[in-house]
């Protein structure tokens, strides 16, 4: 009887409850599927392309870092094992001259240890990447009301990862006729959003959303040290690779460790199987 009661109660509630299911009021958020590129760091043996990540760091440093912080990154990370400026001669990245000079180019805020006054000094490898704004409120105030997101984990914080970053950076285009984008906003099909409010054309509104970030990259905006032509696609691809490394700096160590672990486990399993066959040989089961 109880089960019937359950069923009747449930059905009764369906009849009475009406549209209360959570998620009912979800807006029709859409975004275009990111372009899928092939990356050197894919697959069980994939590694970061060091030159590419170095170029990507330059794009971040000269373009992105004007607005985006990377709170989880320290200059020493650039020279650690698996990092873009790793030099086997300097296992301690704090001693690497390349890392020291990269850090030295950047001013960080500090406190004078004698007077306690706020000062600015060249960064050291042990310093965190400095944030472009004093705090999130200042960042939001200077950027149309919303602080630009931290990029440390960006490659792991969006569906599609580096493909998404590449697609977003190269995906800025003029809005199709019928789509009115307000000043200070930019149409991007890869950015998640709901354009039905801006749409006066025929059919469903286009995929994508409005992003407050103006198109950040332009041909020749960054001069690559290795002579790579500085196209928007190249810049976007390289900075996406840099962000993929920054989000997962221990990836190469993980895959190398994994290879050893897999070989060990396969041999171990094989030996256990042979032991099993031998021990159970004379048992009917």
């Amino acid at each position: 009887m109880l089960r019937k009661g359950f069923a009747f109660a449930a059905f009764g509630l369906f009849m009475l409850g009406g549209p209360l299911a959570p998620g009912k009021a979800l807006a029709a958020t859409t975004q275009a599927e990111p372009t899928v590129l092939s990356w050197s760091f894919e697959g069980p043996f994939g590694k970061f392309d060091k030159e590419q990540v170095q170029r990507g760091y330059k794009v971040y440093r000269e373009v992105c870092s004007a607005c985006h912080k990377m709170d989880l990154m320290y200059f020493r990370n650039l020279g650690q094992k698996g990092g873009p400026f790793y030099d086997p001669k300097y296992p301690n990245p704090n001693q690497s001259p390349v890392v020291k000079s990269l850090a030295h180019d950047i001013q960080v805020k500090d406190i004078d240890s004698d007077t306690g006054d706020p000062i600015s000094r060249p960064a050291m490898p042990a310093d965190r990447f400095p944030a472009p704004f004093a705090n999130d409120v200042a960042a939001a105030a200077s950027n149309g009301g919303k602080a630009p997101p931290d990029l440390s984990l960006m490659a792991k914080a969006r569906e599609g990862g580096p493909n998404y970053i590449y697609s977003l950076l190269t995906g800025f285009r003029n809005p199709p006729p019928g789509l009115t984008i307000p000043a200070g906003k930019y149409y991007n099909p890869y950015f998640a959003g709901d354009l039905s409010g801006q749409w006066s054309g025929h059919g469903p509104p286009p995929e994508g959303g409005m992003i407050a970030m103006p198109p950040p990259l332009a041909p020749g905006k960054v001069t690559f040290d290795d002579g790579k032509p500085s196209t928007v696609k190249q810049e976007a691809m390289d900075v996406a690779a840099f962000l993929a490394w920054a989000a997962e700096p221990k990836m190469e160590e993980r895959k190398a460790f994994g290879l050893g672990a897999m070989i060990y486990l396969l041999i171990f399993s094989g030996l256990l199987y042979l032991s099993y066959r031998r021990i159970w040989k004379n048992v009917a089961h």
Partner: protein, 439 residues
Amino acid sequence: MSGHSTYEPKTGFERWLDTRLPILRFANDTIVTFPTPKNLNYWWTFGGVLAMMLGIQIVTGIILAMHYVPHVDYAFNSVQRIMRDVNYGWLVRYMHANGASMFFIAVYIHMFRNLYYGSYKAPREVLWILGCVIYLLMIMTAFFGYVLPWGQMSFHGAVVITNLIGALPVVGPSITTWLWGGFAVDDPTLNRFFSLHYLLPFVIAGVVGLHIWALHVPGNNNPTGVNVTSPQDTVPFHPYYTVKDGFAISLFLIMFAVFVFYLPDSLGEVVNNVPANPLQTPQHIVPEWYLLPFYAILRAVPNKLMGVILMFGSIGTLFVLPWLDTSKVRSMRYRPTARIYFFIFIFSCLVLGVCGAHAPDDLVIPGATAPQFLDANLDSYVWLSRIGALYYFAYFWLITPVLGLTETPLPAPDSISTPVLSHPAAAPAGAVSSPEKRG
């Protein structure tokens, strides 16, 4: 099966200890000489897998707790510090995070095996109930643990789940405030969740002790479901099952390693890599995969309180299963009709899982035009989850009791040894049936 111990102390020290604390006798009776049915298949190895996973989760968890900071301002970054600056911290954390999923994969296989072979039936009801208690504790521990990294999904998941308690009439809101330690999910909530997340695994370990104790009184069930009748039906646990379980555990570890080393983020939500922000709600709030079926049941009901009752009822039902099943035959090997309903049950659980991952209004078949029925489109996931939930409950409360009375089971063998007489090793010495398989 238990009862008289065959342990014989060999050295003077063992004799001395045996009359004071017979711990070696206990260990010997439990994991060495314990008579185990000789026909257990690989579905029986998941108990050992679960014991190993509990050990892995506790060891990696203790190490993570050495570096983790349970504070809303530092929790997210302290987890990232473990990933970046702690030696092999990425390994420990990925093992712990993926280990939770592996733990649930193993527990679900363990439970489905139990349902298929009728292991919950007399005299193993207490063993089954203790298992249900462990499962419930696992769900709570996993939920508390998921909150700790303090990402977007951690925070908003905690908000959604704790708010469910608020659906209780009269006392709900007060209990929610008491759980939160304030008027919103905040620092006190994170602190107590950390404390409980550290506590509960040891409670689980304690109940696992009782679970094993309750196992060793009636002994293992087996694929035929027939009771052990003679010593020929059993083999000592060691070395026969230590090696078989060991082999299965090693294979399970290979799968675990594939996730840890090559797909460490595949089971998680990308949104949880964004720090918690109470002012910005993610587009979809979904639990981890292992709780999706219950989430689907919760959302299948338009009334919040009724949804909460059904969700807890879906787990509560498991506790009374031994008394819902009217069939005297344990193993579904000999219950062909029950077997069909059982596989539909597994399928309904998977369907519920898929429903839990989608927004209720999403269309199951995009583009198909289905009529509106009551409050939602018939093609929507909310209706699919209603069908799935209905079958889930019907399976336990209707099909299982009725089927036991109406079906005609196949004849079960008289003993465990009967169906294996055709095995090569049962043939007389010298009559080698498949020489290529010998030594």
